[in-house]
C-alpha cells in the first residue's frame, strides 16, 4: 500500500511571530522555516507503517513556494521514498488555502492511488485544521482526524482519536484520510547519512495548472493585526498575599 503524506513549510514553532506594521500580514522574510510539526508526526507514522510492512512506498507532497523543496528533502531524509513539489506561488507570504490544497491533493491521489493519506491535524501558521477533512470530502473517502493511534487491519484502519471528551476509536474503510495529532508518535531526526541520501531521492516539480486547479483565494485578507496586549501584573511574596489579592483586589475568590 502506498502512503501519501502532505507536508507544509511553515514558520518554525519557536520563532516569535511579528505582525507587519502596515497590517498586511506576518513577517516571514528571513525567519526560520520548518516542516509543520504535525506533518513530521505524519511522516513518522508513514515510516512506521513501512517498517511494519504495511506501507510499501511513501510519497511526500508539498504545495507552496519553491523553498518547500527543503521541507520535502527533510521528509525524504526521515524516510519518505519520493516527493512531489507543487509550486503554487513565488511569494513566500502567500498561503495557499486548504480548499485549493485539497483540490491539488485530490488530483495527486487520483494519479498515485495511495491506500492512505496521512495529513497533519493543523498547520501551525493558519491554524485552519481543515485540509484532511476537505480532501476526504472531495474524494468521497472516510476520515479519521486527530489520530493518536493508527492500526491498519486488512481493508480497514482502526484509529483512536483525541476528542473533547477524551478518546474515541473508529474503524474506517480504506482508502482513507488520517490526520495526525500530537501524541501519535515522536518523530525521528534525520541522520546525516540519510540527509545525504535524500539528496538523490526523486523529487518531481509540478504546478497547479498541471492538475487543472485554480489556487486563487476565496478569503480576502483584509488585515492582520496584533492581538490585544496583556500586561504583566504584580508579583506577590507569599500565598497569604496571593489569597488576599484574589479576594480583595480581583474579587474572584
Amino acid at each position: 500500500m502506498k502512503v501519501l503524506v502532505p507536508v507544509k513549510r511553515v514558520i518554525d514553532y519557536n520563532v516569535k511571530v511579528r505582525v507587519k506594521a502596515d497590517g498586511s500580514g506576518v513577517d516571514l522574510a528571513n525567519v526560520k522555516m520548518s516542516m509543520n510539526p504535525f506533518d513530521e508526526i505524519a511522516v513518522e507514522e508513514a515510516i512506521r507503517l513501512k517498517e511494519k510492512g504495511v506501507a510499501t512506498e511513501i510519497v511526500a507532497v508539498s504545495i507552496g513556494v519553491k523553498q518547500a523543496t527543503e521541507t520535502l528533502r527533510t521528509a525524504l531524509a526521515m524516510g519518505a521514498d519520493r516527493a512531489i513539489l507543487v509550486e503554487a506561488s513565488e511569494d513566500v507570504h502567500a498561503d495557499i488555502e486548504p480548499l485549493a490544497v485539497a483540490k491539488i491533493l485530490k488530483a495527486i491521489v487520483e494519479e498515485e492511488e495511495p491506500g492512505l493519506v496521512i495529513c497533519g491535524k493543523q498547520a501551525i501558521d493558519n491554524d485552519m485544521n481543515a485540509t484532511g477533512q476537505m480532501l476526504a470530502a472531495l474524494l468521497g473517502w472516510s476520515q479519521a482526524t486527530f489520530a493518536s493511534e493508527v492500526a491498519v487491519e486488512g481493508e480497514n484502519a482502526v484509529v483512536t482519536r483525541e476528542v473533547d471528551g477524551g478518546l474515541q476509536t473508529i474503524k474506517v474503510k480504506l482508502p482513507a484520510i488520517v490526520t495526525a495529532d500530537l501524541r501519535l508518535n515522536e518523530p525521528r531526526y534525520a541522520s546525516l547519512p540519510n540527509i545525504m541520501k535524500a539528496k538523490k531521492k526523486p523529487l518531481d516539480a509540478k504546478s497547479p495548472a498541471d492538475y487543472g486547479v485554480d489556487v486563487s483565494p476565496r478569503l480576502e485578507v483584509v488585515k492582520t493585526s496584533e492581538p490585544a496586549e496583556r500586561k504583566a501584573g504584580v508579583m506577590v511574596g507569599s500565598v497569604d498575599e496571593l489569597v488576599a489579592k484574589l479576594k480583595d483586589e480581583a474579587g474572584v475568590l
Binding site: A102, A137, P217, R218, L219, T224, V252
Partner: protein, 308 residues
C-alpha cells in the same frame, strides 16, 4: 440572512454552553435554525428550542448519525444547506471534524475558529497560535464557520422555537464507531468553567497531579494541563489547554509549573485573571499573569488549597 447552526449534541444531550455561545455569534448574522443530529436528538432539540435567538429547530435522528461520524453528519448538513447563507458550529472537536468536510462538499472555504464577526462576509480569527488576528472577507456564496466559543457570551434561555424533524440522507457507511474512552467527572467542563487550575511539567508525575486536582476541587474548578503534562502522562489528553488543545477564558486561571510557551498561552490568555505559580522568576508565564508567585509548587499549592 439565514443561518444553519449545528448544535453540539453529546449522547443525545445538548451541550448547552458551547451551543449557546455559538448561537450568540450566529444571531449576529441572521435568523438561526439549530440542527440537532444524532441517533437520539429529540431531547437536545427541545433544549435548543429554549435558547434565545433560535427561531427554529431541526431534529435529525438516525442510527447513521450516532457518535456524529463526520461522513454522515456532513452529508446531512449538505442536504439541508439550500436556503441558508451561513452554516455555523461551535469549534468543538466534533465540529472541526465535520465542518471542513461540509465546506468542501459545497465548494467553499471553511473559516475556522472565528473570534469576531465584522459583518455577514467578514470575520476575525486568530492565526499563528494567537500571535496575530486576521480579518478575512469571504467571496464564497455560502459561509461555513466554526466559532471560538471563549470569545462569545452564552445566549440565555426563554425562547420557544418550533421543532421539526428532518430525515438523514442515505449514503455508504464509510466509518464505524468502535468505542469511547471518556472519564466520568463531577468537575465542571473545562471550556465553560469559571475557574480553571492547570498543571504543567513542573508537577512532575501523575501522582503529584493530585495536588492540582485538590486545589481545583476546593475551588470548584475544572482541571487543565500543558501539552508537556499530557505528553508525560500526568494528565489525560482532553485536559490540554492551548493552540492545539482547548481554548478557555475563565474568570480565574491558575497556571502551576507551566512555563508559558506561546502554544499554551494561545489557549488561556483571554482569561480574566491569571495567576502563575512557578519556581523560575524568569518564566514567560509571568509576563501575562496578573498575580505571580515565585515558589516551589509542592509547598505553595497545598498551602493555597488550605487557605482558599
Amino acid at each position: 440572512m439565514t443561518v444553519l447552526l449545528l448544535a453540539e449534541v453529546n449522547k443525545g444531550e445538548l451541550a448547552v454552553d458551547a451551543t449557546a455561545k455559538a448561537v450568540t455569534a450566529a444571531a449576529q448574522l441572521g435568523e438561526v435554525t439549530a440542527l440537532c443530529a444524532g441517533a437520539h436528538a429529540a431531547a437536545a432539540g427541545e433544549a435548543a428550542a429554549k435558547l434565545d435567538g433560535v427561531s427554529k429547530v431541526l431534529v435529525a435522528e438516525d442510527p447513521s448519525l450516532d457518535h456524529r461520524l463526520a461522513e454522515a453528519t456532513a452529508a446531512l448538513i449538505v442536504s439541508l444547506a439550500d436556503g441558508y447563507d451561513h452554516i455555523v458550529a461551535p469549534a468543538t472537536t466534533d465540529a472541526k471534524n465535520v465542518m471542513p468536510r461540509v465546506a468542501a462538499l459545497l465548494d467553499v472555504m471553511v473559516i475556522s475558529d472565528v473570534s469576531g464577526i465584522v459583518d455577514a462576509d467578514t470575520f476575525e480569527r486568530p492565526i499563528y497560535a494567537g500571535n496575530a488576528v486576521q480579518t478575512v472577507k469571504s467571496k464564497d456564496a455560502k459561509k461555513v464557520l466554526t466559532i471560538r466559543t471563549s470569545t462569545f457570551d452564552a445566549a440565555g434561555d426563554g425562547g420557544s422555537a418550533p421543532v421539526e424533524t428532518v430525515a438523514a440522507p442515505d449514503g455508504p457507511a464509510l466509518a464505524e464507531w468502535v468505542e469511547d474512552k471518556v472519564a466520568a467527572s463531577d468537575r465542571p467542563e473545562l471550556t465553560s468553567a469559571g475557574v480553571v487550575v492547570s498543571g504543567g511539567r513542573g508537577v512532575g508525575s501523575e501522582e503529584d497531579f493530585k495536588l492540582i486536582e485538590a486545589l481545583a476541587d476546593k475551588l470548584g474548578a475544572a482541571v487543565g494541563a500543558s501539552r508537556a503534562a499530557v505528553d508525560s502522562g500526568y494528565a489525560p489528553n482532553d485536559w490540554q489547554v492551548g493552540q492545539t488543545g482547548k481554548v478557555v477564558a475563565p474568570e480565574l486561571y491558575i497556571a502551576i509549573g507551566i512555563s508559558g510557551a506561546i502554544q499554551h498561552l494561545a489557549g488561556m490568555k483571554d482569561s480574566k485573571v491569571i495567576v502563575a505559580i512557578n519556581k523560575d522568576e524568569d518564566a514567560p508565564i509571568f509576563q501575562v499573569a496578573d498575580y505571580g508567585l515565585v515558589a516551589d509548587l509542592f509547598q505553595a499549592v497545598p498551602e493555597l488549597t488550605e487557605k482558599v
